[in-house]
């Protein structure tokens, strides 16, 4: 290490910052000054997502609003808190424990909704007129759209 002029940074990267040792910190304390980040982030975005404190309230809100005929909110809940869902209940961190019931129930709700919807839609598509009779033509969306003139303004 060559002799340093006072104030001149030792390596090129620190040229834009004052020397931390000059600011009064002990040079030997290289360890992090702050507690390390939580071992696991509750959301799928990791450090960019919700902090743990807000996660529970958020999960709860989405779960409750999903009952207002908005099952996609349940899906969003499950996707967003995927790490909570995937971590096995025994070994997950303590903070997950309060979030987990809401996420699990959202998952169950969305599964039920999607099963019902897919069953109905598949029956409709596959069954066709054989199953429903002439009523099929009244229920198919493109006929309904033509009848009501819904797609008129876009040609």
């Amino acid at each position: 290490m060559e002799a340093r002029v006072a104030g001149v940074p030792e390596d090129e990267e620190s040229g834009l910052l004052p020397r931390p040792s000059a600011a009064g910190r002990r040079p030997s304390s290289r360890g992090p000054r702050f507690p390390p980040p939580p071992a696991a982030w509750a959301t799928v975005d990791g450090p960019l997502g919700l902090p743990l404190e807000e996660a529970e309230g958020h999960a709860r809100r989405f779960f409750l609003w999903g009952f207002a005929c908005l099952p996609f909110l349940w899906a969003i809940n499950c996707c967003y808190f995927w790490p909570v869902l995937r971590s096995p209940a025994a070994s997950s961190p303590a903070a997950f424990g309060s979030i987990r019931p809401y996420v699990v129930r959202s998952a169950i709700g969305f599964t039920i909704f999607s099963v019902v919807l897919i069953t109905w839609a598949t029956t409709f598509i596959v069954g066709g007129e054989r199953l429903f009779g002439p009523g099929w033509n009244d229920l198919v969306m493109y006929n309904v759209a033509d009848k009501l003139g819904l797609s008129g303004f876009m040609g």
Partner: protein, 453 residues
């Protein structure tokens, strides 16, 4: 920077600039722009046939007093474009006024309403068109159940980025842009081109001229250090430690840490600076620098920030004297007034259709922000090119991406909010005209004579 020998005293260390980490940022902006354009081209190819006149021709002709012939001639086009620009200007001034009067609930309500309207009405129309053209036998009950649900979920994702996965938020913004752009491509041809050119000129004027509405809005936002509620696409920050919640988390654990409300300016310095340092110090030779960057970035009292700010204000002098560290208190006052060139406030434009933002800038987390209006008009250009032939699509796509790259470079150099439309639209229009007149002839002749392709 490589693991080089220690700097000789007096040898200026290389400055970290925004350019060093711009590669990843550019990619993260180009992907969604390309995805938006691709979806619009797909929709246009599937849904419109070149023979049918534009469905909006008749209404435009009626509105402009029935210009001679059809609705698709140049005077009508100019009148329509001018009308649109005037209404956008008026809407932006109204937005600036509301922002000045601090009517943030009004703005958010309008944003929510317009996002929902686009997704529900336009999205429903596009879905119906797809179902009809492709003869997909979806039944009315499922459709009635799925459409409001999807529209509501996407609108929520677009407006409340903190509550949904980032990917979903970005996808919702792209969806809104795709739907609006598709709607715009339904205009008659001359009108579309006149509109694009007029919007590019308006964008240039509104962001750069001192009296322009966007600039006024910008300065208001900087002055108050508030965020303008608007639909803007923000690329995911390259380093997750610069995310909002990481910083909040770390600040929350500081003893006596109080969030300095007027610290947005300086936070940007830390974020961007920290990013460059991290990008540069790939070797492990400067752990203290990284620590200092993160510690300076996290401690919410302003002592290290003032130091950082002081360091940046004297960025020409590459040697930071140790004495500057001690002269902190007076710098604390200087922070508020200091307009550090690294912050990029976001310009905003309010269109009729929604509160899009126009222009490009860096957000408070150092990621690049691109207004949704830019997405829309790029896609309109490419969609209109798709109505002619795929050759023009490729040419215009390359032109727009080149224009976007140029704008990002200019952003790196000028470090203030810039309009993102003019360069790309200019290049796009030029390339479209050249392709259609010159390149097509050439390619067709070569192909028919079996010379190339």
């Amino acid at each position: 920077m490589a693991d080089a020998a220690p700097a000789v005293p007096g040898d200026p260390p290389p400055r970290a600039t925004v350019l060093d980490s711009l590669g990843e940022d550019i990619t993260r902006i180009v992907y969604p722009v390309s995805a938006c354009m691709l979806l619009v081209v797909l929709l246009v190819s599937l849904l419109s046939s070149p023979d049918s006149p534009s469905p909006l021709t008749a209404s435009i002709a009626a509105a402009t007093g029935g210009g001679g012939g059809g609705g698709d001639n140049i005077p009508t086009a100019l009148i329509t474009a001018l009308t649109f620009v005037v209404s956008v200007t008026a809407a932006t001034f109204l937005l600036a006024l509301l922002f000045y009067l601090r009517c943030t609930p009004c703005l958010r309500a309008y944003l929510g309403f317009s996002a929902l309207a686009v997704l529900l009405v336009l999205g429903g129309q596009v879905a119906l068109l797809l179902l009809t053209r492709l003869r997909l036998p979806l039944d009315a009950v499922s459709f009635a159940l799925l459409l409001p649900n999807a529209a509501g979920a996407l609108a929520l994702a677009a407006l409340a980025p903190a509550s949904v996965p980032i990917a979903l938020h970005q996808a919702a913004l792209v969806a809104i842009a795709v739907l609006t752009a598709f709607w715009f491509t339904l205009l008659p041809e001359w009108t579309t081109w006149a509109l694009l050119v007029a919007m590019a000129v308006y964008d240039l004027a509104a962001v750069l001229l001192p009296g322009g509405p966007l600039r006024v809005l910008l300065e208001l936002a900087i002055e108050r250090n508030e965020e303008i509620p608007a639909l803007v696409y923000e690329a995911r920050p390259v380093d997750p430690r610069h995310g909002r919640n990481w910083r909040l988390w770390r600040e929350g654990r500081q003893p006596g840490g109080d969030l300095d409300a007027s610290s947005t300016t300086v936070e940007v310095i830390e974020e961007v600076l920290g990013r460059h340092l991290d990008a540069n110090s790939g070797n492990g030779s400067s752990p203290q620098v990284r620590e200092a960057a993160t510690s300076a970035g996290d401690v919410s009292n302003s002592r290290p920030r003032a130091t950082l700010a002081a360091a940046l204000s004297s960025s020409d002098s590459t040697v930071v004297q140790a004495g500057e560290v001690l002269a902190l208190q007076e710098h604390r006052m200087a922070i508020a007034e200091m307009r550090v060139p690294l912050i990029q406030p976001r310009p905003e434009r309010s269109g009729e259709e929604e509160e899009d933002e126009d222009g490009i800038g860096l957000s408070s987390s150092g990621a690049i922000k691109l207004g949704l209006g830019d997405f829309i008009f790029y896609s309109v250009l490419v969609g209109r090119a798709a109505m002619y032939d795929y050759m023009t699509v490729y040419a215009c796509y390359l032109a727009i991406i080149a224009g976007l790259g140029i704008t990002l470079l200019l952003l790196a150099f000028f470090r203030k909010a810039l309009p993102a439309l003019p360069v790309s639209i200019a290049l796009g229009v030029v390339f479209y005209v050249l392709t259609r007149t010159l390149l097509e002839e050439f390619v067709v002749q070569c192909s028919t004579n079996l010379l190339m392709f």
